[in-house]
């Protein structure tokens, strides 16, 4: 390994000097406040120290090239139509010990199990409301509750088959669940591709570390979808339903279809026959479809039932689903639990349905619909993050400490007008991880999105997608707003 100093004691310009690295008051995933490597991070810290500027640049270029060659893109709208961009990728991995991950894995399974029971209950007897645990008022104003789904019994009683939960770590090192994405969570393709890129760029590190593999996901996804087939005896026909190439996640739709070896279809490829079964149009005539992995929002799925102007959906598909002739993942209506007000009740759900204490913590949440909470929120807008209940992608939120007086005033007005639609949380500091910025290593804020599959069995990805806010000091990790991603390594630390 290269040394940092030559024999004359003259310091050679090395790319990474950990001495100057400081993440301030945020928790850093790899480096302790004292400047030492955390458990599991020792080898990578040492390894990076041994790389020259030139080495680092080479690795970085190799990673970029790999991303281009593999065609890892997301779509950005512009005046000239959709353009594929490569999503920024940072070559320094984020590391979590297998020991910590086992608890997180359990906690996520527990959470998703409770969420699924909650959704099933809401579309059935609504026991949780009758028992006074969950206020009826919240449901009345839910924009993602679909009355059309009441009474439907999907296969296996599961509604949210694919869940992407966002985890963040606060300054004290505690991992919190920030939100659960139960509609059409995306990002898993980047998780898979990031690992492939890393294997090309740092093969030697994979020899030193015992890193849990992630590449079983596509197979698990396929098996989970297959378990929803209404014709279990046959080899199921599964399709991925995409809104089309202008969707920002189109790359992922086509990627997953390819990985699973199933067809990628859009609404116009499908139709519902007189027998209330779903078919796709092929050059051989019609072919029955058993399971649809839909990446179209449920409001656009069936113009007969929901948005009548939708061109993305399939008329009659809800009819077919209700009759049990086709499996749909996630089930239409599953988004009811993807609501930041509902989120606040997840710990209660876990106690109510499972009679267990939550393993993973929620971020303390103030519900503006609650008068006492609202008073507190309005009085502390400069300390809190305010979020609308039903937005995703980081839109429409306010980070109190960073907001201008004017913005805070605007949000106070919004909250008073529509309290049900707003929640507030203390400003978390979000942990950081060393990130390569212009040849230097600097701390950047990150989060983590693991994916949880629920079918006959449940499966949690080993790690997930780590998203990183590339702008200095920024807490916004969304790809649409200047975020990038990192590979996430769950490493075994004992014994090796």
């Amino acid at each position: 390994m290269a040394s940092c100093r030559n024999d004359n004691g003259v310091s050679i310009a090395m790319a990474i000097t950990w001495k100057e690295y400081s993440s301030g008051e945020s928790f850093d995933e790899l480096i302790t406040p004292g400047g030492r490597a955390r458990t599991g991070a020792g080898k990578i810290v040492q390894y990076l120290r041994g790389l020259s500027d030139e080495d680092l640049r080479e690795r970085r270029e190799a990673a970029e090239l790999a991303m281009h060659v593999m065609g890892i893109t997301f779509t950005v709208y512009s005046e000239e139509g959709g353009i594929d961009r490569v999503w920024p990728f940072d070559i320094i991995p984020r590391i979590i010990t297998a020991r910590e991950w086992r608890t997180t894995d359990e906690g996520l399974q527990q959470r998703v199990q409770a969420l699924n029971m909650f959704i099933a209950d809401l579309y059935d007897e609504q026991r949780i409301i009758k028992d006074g645990v969950f206020p009826a008022g919240i449901l009345e104003h839910s924009v993602n509750f679909r009355e059309q789904c009441i009474g439907i019994k999907p296969a296996l009683g599961i509604w949210a088959h694919i869940c992407g939960s966002d985890l963040v770590r606060d300054r004290d090192g505690t991992m919190y669940v920030l939100e659960d994405n139960l509609r059409v969570p995306s990002g898993v393709s980047y998780m898979l591709e990031n690992r492939l890129v890393m294997k090309r760029v740092f093969p030697e590190l994979f020899e030193d570390y015992s890193i849990l593999p992630v590449d079983g996901y596509s197979t698990r996804l396929f098996d989970m979808l297959a378990s929803l087939s209404p014709r279990p005896a046959d080899y199921p026909t599964i399709v991925v339903l995409t809104p089309g190439i202008y969707n920002s996640a189109y790359f992922e739709h086509s990627y997953l279809a390819q990985q699973m070896g199933v067809e990628l279809v859009s609404g116009s490829d499908l139709f519902v026959g007189d027998d209330d079964c779903v078919y796709m149009r092929t050059i051989n005539g019609r072919a029955r479809v058993d399971v649809i992995y839909r990446r179209v929002d449920d409001l656009f799925m069936d113009p007969e039932v929901f948005n009548p102007d939708s061109m993305l959906g399939v008329p009659g598909i809800m009819r077919a689903w209700r009759k049990g002739n086709v499996g749909i993942a996630n089930a239409p209506g599953a988004g009811v639990a993807d609501d930041k007000v509902v989120y606040a009740y997840v710990p209660e759900m876990i106690r109510y349905y499972l009679d267990q204490e939550p393993i993973l913590q929620n971020v303390p949440t103030y519900l503006c619909m609650n008068e006492e909470h609202r008073k507190y929120v309005l009085a502390n807008l400069d300390k809190l993050v305010v979020k609308p209940a039903n937005e995703s992608g980081g839109y429409g939120m306010m980070v109190g400490p960073a907001a201008s007086k004017k913005t805070r005033k605007e949000f106070a007005e919004l909250i008073r007008k529509d309290p049900r639609n707003y929640i507030a949380q203390p400003t978390l500091s979000l942990s950081t991880s060393p990130t390569l910025c212009d040849g230097h290593v600097e701390p950047r804020h990150i989060d983590l999105r693991p994916f949880i599959l629920s079918g006959e069995n449940r499966h949690v990805t080993r790690g997930g997608l780590t998203r990183v806010a590339l702008k200095k000091g920024s807490l916004v990790v969304n790809s649409s707003q200047g975020g990038g991603s990192k590979d996430t390594w769950i490493v075994e630390t004992g014994g090796r």
């Binding site: 065609g71 026909t237 089309g244 190439i245 086509s254 279809a257 390819q258 067809e263 990628l264 279809v265 859009s266 116009s268 490829d269 139709f271 796709m280 149009r281 092929t282 050059i283 051989n284 005539g285 019609r286 072919a287």
Partner: protein, 327 residues
């Protein structure tokens, strides 16, 4: 399993790529021809506008066809959706939505070509720049065909590529004959006479056929023979008879091919049974009209059979009329 929508995109992708190549060659040839013609010749660029089939649209906004405005119209004017840039954009869009099916290298070549055409489009306004531009486009299109042929499974999807290519070729050849031959046949400016042969040669050149014509026809370039060659030769890739034969072979490998096969056989008979000597002197126009209608008919049958995903009973599927084509 081949989705109807994918088959349709693949078919149109192939047609657009072929269209770009054909347009480029046509421009190149006309360019060369004009350099040889007397200054006061009436030839000019108007016939090229007619070949596109949307001359009306052109004259809505242009008083006359001159080198500059025709070049814009053929290369970059969005009013002409078949212009080279639009065709490339369409081809790219069709490929983009079915990328998983094609070898990656094909996507890269088309993407490069599209970027090149966008960046260098204004170079076509000079005769020098034009030559390089068109040559590059033609070469890139050949590269795409070559990559497809060499690295893609020759399965049902590939049949739609071949089909698109051959239908587009037949269409182009019929248009070139229509416009160019019409002008060249008898009742003409006496003054042009000495240049007849180079004009007929240019007709062949537009379809990359001069060399092959000389090898196989063994007579000097003469109107009737050129026409016969372009219509009825079975070996030349842009001769209409050959294109139809190819399309027919594609269909044999596809299911439910009765209706399109029938349309194809009708078109084939029209071409094969044509008495070229008679057509040349009497009713070329009418003949080409019939041919164009036949091509439209083939396209319509392909569309309703394969691209609209309508249901066909299995019984029909198994009674493929294979003999029909050879009857």
């Amino acid at each position: 399993m081949l989705l109807s929508s994918v088959a349709e995109r693949v078919y149109w992708f192939a047609r657009y790529v072929e269209r770009v190549e054909n347009t480029a060659r046509m421009i190149l040839v006309n360019n060369n021809l004009l350099l040889d013609m007397p200054r006061n010749s009436t030839l000019g660029w108007a016939p090229i506008v007619s070949i596109t089939g949307i001359a009306d649209k052109f004259y809505e906004t242009h008083k006359e066809a001159n080198e500059r405005n025709v070049m814009r119209f053929l290369v970059m004017d969005a009013a002409n959706q078949s212009c080279m840039l639009c065709s490339l954009a369409h081809a790219r869009e069709n490929l983009r939505t079915s990328r998983a099916i094609f070898p990656r290298a094909v996507w890269e070549t088309l993407n490069d070509l599209y970027a090149y055409a966008r960046e260098n489009k204004s170079s076509v306004l000079t005769r020098r720049g034009r030559y390089h531009f068109m040559q590059h486009v033609i070469d890139s299109c050949h590269l795409i065909s070559g990559k497809l042929s060499a690295s893609m499974s020759h399965d049902q999807i590939y049949e739609f590529v071949r089909m698109g290519r051959n239908i587009e070729r037949a269409d182009m050849t019929s248009r070139v004959i229509d416009v160019r031959a019409e002008n060249l046949l008898p009742k003409h400016d006496e003054e042009l006479k000495p240049f007849d042969d180079i004009q007929w040669k240019s007709v062949l050149d537009s379809l990359a056929g001069y060399q092959m014509y000389r090898r196989y026809v063994h007579v000097r370039v003469r109107g009737t023979e050129v026409l016969r060659y372009l219509l009825q030769d079975i070996y030349f890739p842009r001769a209409i008879h050959h294109c139809f034969n190819q399309a027919e072979q594609c269909l044999r490998n596809l299911p439910m091919n009765e209706a399109p096969q029938y349309a194809l056989v009708k078109a084939q008979r029209l071409v094969r049974n044509a008495k070229v000597e008679n057509i040349v002197h009497a009713n070329l126009n009418e003949f080409i009209n019939q041919l164009q209608l036949a091509i439209i008919d083939i396209n319509a049958e392909l569309t309703s059979t394969y691209f609209e995903g309508k249901e066909v009973s299995p019984a029909l599927y198994y009674s493929l009329p294979r003999e029909l084509a050879t009857a």
